[in-house]
């Protein structure tokens, strides 16, 4: 779970704004904290050479080329995220990246599209951390998400974090709120996404959208808007974790399915508490 912990730290970022930039803009973002993305491993390596290594939070490889060995010997310990576009078709390519783990923490970002569960399963089977890109899943995708959640919670061979499940489970277990926007690395108070055209926006999925207000306050403003509308979020027990994440961009999205996932995580955290209490009691009895 070490890599998962590291990725959780990366996900939490810092108070300093982080820019997710195309590699070709590395020079324009000198002095800023950045996540550098490219479809070309060699271009990522070139960016690493040009930037202050401490300023690069992680690099994103946006394709799955058969040979990425150029990344293996560069900037050891710098986290690498492999971003899948079509997980159902691309997932077997993950076998090409198993050696990266020897020199880098590796996470696979998987869009929740039909068939994504195979990618999630193979990624954790290869010891990669996983970040699911959730958006607004339909009922079929909810079923696939439930299967992946079951894998994460109950298969003893899974030893890597699957986000956002991992952070949400910890949040329920510790009874602390958490921001799903932050876990998804889509909170513009912490992170800005720079499109290939240089436009500054919230995240990949907001590219091209017209955003009228100041980006930094987007999440609390959107949350207040949802609560004031006295719609589904108003009475939702999970709003202090979700923050309206699933109501964007379509406010009419029905959350029944995602609430089921939250509830499963909540129950699992309660079961862990219960199991530990039982075991502690047994331990006391054994000692006496």
């Amino acid at each position: 779970m070490q890599a998962g912990r590291l990725w959780s730290q990366v996900a939490t970022m810092s108070n300093t704004l982080v820019y997710n930039i195309p590699a070709k803009q590395i020079d324009a973002y000198g002095g800023h904290n950045v996540i550098v993305r490219s479809t070309e491993p060699a271009e990522l390596v070139y960016s690493i050479w040009r930037a202050d290594p401490k300023a690069i939070k992680f690099i994103q490889l946006l394709s799955t080329p058969a040979d990425s060995s150029v990344l293996e010997g560069v900037a050891e310990a710098l986290p690498v995220e492999i971003v899948l576009k079509n997980p159902a078709a691309e997932y077997v390519q993950l076998y090409n990246y198993t050696n990266l783990i020897d020199t880098h923490p590796v996470r696979v970002a998987i869009p929740v599209l039909p068939g994504f569960s195979k990618a999630a399963k193979l990624a954790v089977s290869l010891n990669f951390a996983v970040k699911l890109e959730l958006q607004q899943p339909d009922s079929l995708l909810i079923e696939e998400l439930a299967a992946v959640l079951d894998l994460y919670l109950h298969r003893s061979s899974v030893r890597q974090a699957i986000e956002p499940f991992h952070t949400l489970l910890l949040s329920f277990y510790r009874q602390e709120p958490v921001s799903l926007w932050e876990v998804a690395e889509e909170d513009p108070a912490l992170l800005r996404y720079i499109t290939d055209d240089g436009e500054e926006t919230i995240c990949k999925r907001s590219s091209g959208e017209k955003l009228d207000h100041q980006l930094g306050g987007f999440v609390p403003r959107f949350g207040e808007e949802l609560i004031s509308e006295r719609a589904e979020c108003h009475d939702c027990e999970f709003f202090n974790r979700c923050g309206g994440y699933f109501k964007w961009p379509d406010k009419n999205y029905k959350c029944d399915g995602v609430k089921r996932l939250f509830r499963t995580l909540q129950t699992a955290a309660a079961e862990i508490h219960q199991d530990l209490a039982t075991m502690e009691l047994a331990e006391v009895q054994a000692q006496s």
Binding site: S69, Y95, L122, M279
Partner: protein, 419 residues
């Protein structure tokens, strides 16, 4: 291509001093000279420089290693260590021998070069391992005498055993008893048989009933759990599977790596390079090339059409049904050579899938007992002296002036563990 560590299964001789009926190697009289070894070492170090690989493990085997002079190894060791030191690399060495040619003259080099441990092989009952006079009984007697002599000299012995029909008929209890009680071994690994190399009647009959074989592994795990677990007896791969389920720290054999093509290559005395010892003497169509002839090992590996097949195997077979398996993370479709020798293609899942499933389920069950017990009583309650993974850690123990807690299962077994 290979991460930050590289392994080579090196056959400095293709010659053997025994005549095992099921051997997958096609023997020749070829031996590597020290000049050839120097050439191999330099080309491997060039490749490590190019690929930014820092550490190398050489798994020495044959043919039969002990048909080579002891002095050859002393000079080979010096030659390789000096060459590696000049490049800022480290090389560790492991030894696999049938022990038939062992005598005390080997003790010094085993200690100095091979971490004072040797991997060997024996079956119970021994049906197929024979001397050139055809006797399995004489083979077993000589092997046992030499193994016990080596252990008396302080050498740690690990044994690979391959079950046959007589093993299944005899049962796990007697099998375990032979190695642990009779021979005095406390570290052995059970491998599944496969008909590699030139075919003969024995190889044609090597296939065992998978249900029966699966049950044998289950029974063996029970025997080990009852009799061996607390005595620090290691029965691979079951003990490592259990450890993997307990805390992920088990060292699983190469048949279950995500892709063996990422882990190692094998080089034989003629300079041929192939995936492992199971291929390098017997399957010319699957040779990656010849290291004596190439001027760049890395390019040879990258451009070899034969190696590409190994690299592409998991991506080809996993989508069929392995992706649905609960134990995908442990197996990845299994072993190419077992698949190839039984099925005629490597692009299918391992024919022992059913056996592996039985092993995984059993290991998971035992791990649950250990985890549950630990949760209630703490780690110390079921602590065993720590078996560590691979030769790196063995060397670390020795560097610190400590004897290993118990003879480590050498990582130079035919089925090697990922470092």
């Amino acid at each position: 291509m290979m991460g930050n560590h590289f392994s080579i299964i090196l056959l400095p001789t293709n010659k053997c001093n025994v005549n095992c009926e099921y051997c997958f190697e096609d023997k020749t009289d070829d031996r590597m000279t020290l000049d050839q070894l120097s050439l191999v070492t330099n080309k491997v170090l060039d490749y490590m420089d190019e690929a930014n690989i820092k550490a190398l493990t050489i798994h020495w085997q044959g043919g039969e290693i002990m048909t080579m002079p002891v002095d050859w190894f002393a000079r080979a060791h010096e030659l390789m260590q000096n060459a590696a030191a000049r490049r800022g690399k480290s090389i560790e060495h492991g030894l696999q021998s049938n022990m038939v040619g062992y005598n005390s003259r080997w003790n010094r080099i085993i200690k100095e070069m091979f971490g004072n441990s040797v991997g060997t092989s024996m079956d119970y009952p021994n049906v197929h391992r024979k001397l050139f006079n055809g006797s399995a009984t004489d083979y077993t007697r000589i092997w046992k005498y030499n193994v016990q002599a080596a252990m008396n000299a302080g050498i740690g012995m690990g044994v690979i055993a391959v079950p046959n029909q007589a093993t299944l008929d005899t049962g796990a209890e007697e099998f375990y008893s032979y190695f642990v009680d009779d021979v005095g071994i406390n570290s052995f690994q059970v491998n599944t048989p496969f008909p590699g190399g030139e075919q003969n009647d024995t190889k044609r009959s090597l296939g065992l009933d998978v249900d029966e074989l699966g049950q044998f592994f289950v029974d063996l795990t029970d025997v080990w759990w009852e009799r061996g677990y607390h005595e620090n007896v290691s029965v691979g791969p079951m003990d490592q599977l259990v450890q993997t389920f307990v805390d992920g720290s088990g060292c699983l054999p190469c048949i279950w790596q995500s892709n063996c093509a990422d882990e190692f290559i094998s080089i034989d005395a003629r300079g041929f390079v192939a995936q492992c010892d199971c291929w390098v003497t017997s399957y010319p169509d699957y040779f990656f090339g010849n290291i004596y002839e190439t001027d760049n090992l890395g390019r040879m590996l990258r451009e070899s059409p034969a190696r590409r097949k190994f690299v592409e195997r998991p991506a080809t077979i996993i989508p069929r049904d392995c992706i649905e398996c609960d134990y995908l993370s442990l197996c990845h479709g299994g072993c190419p050579v077992r698949t190839y020798t039984f099925s005629g293609t490597m692009f299918e899942k391992d024919p022992y899938c059913h056996v592996y499933l039985a092993m995984f389920r059993k290991a998971e069950e035992v791990a649950a007992k250990i985890s549950g017990y630990r949760a209630v009583h703490g780690n110390g309650a079921v602590e065993r002296a720590g078996k560590q993974c691979g030769s790196h850690r063995a060397a670390a123990n020795l560097d610190q002036g400590e004897a290993p807690v118990f003879p480590l299962l050498p990582s130079n077994l035919v089925q090697i563990s990922r470092n």
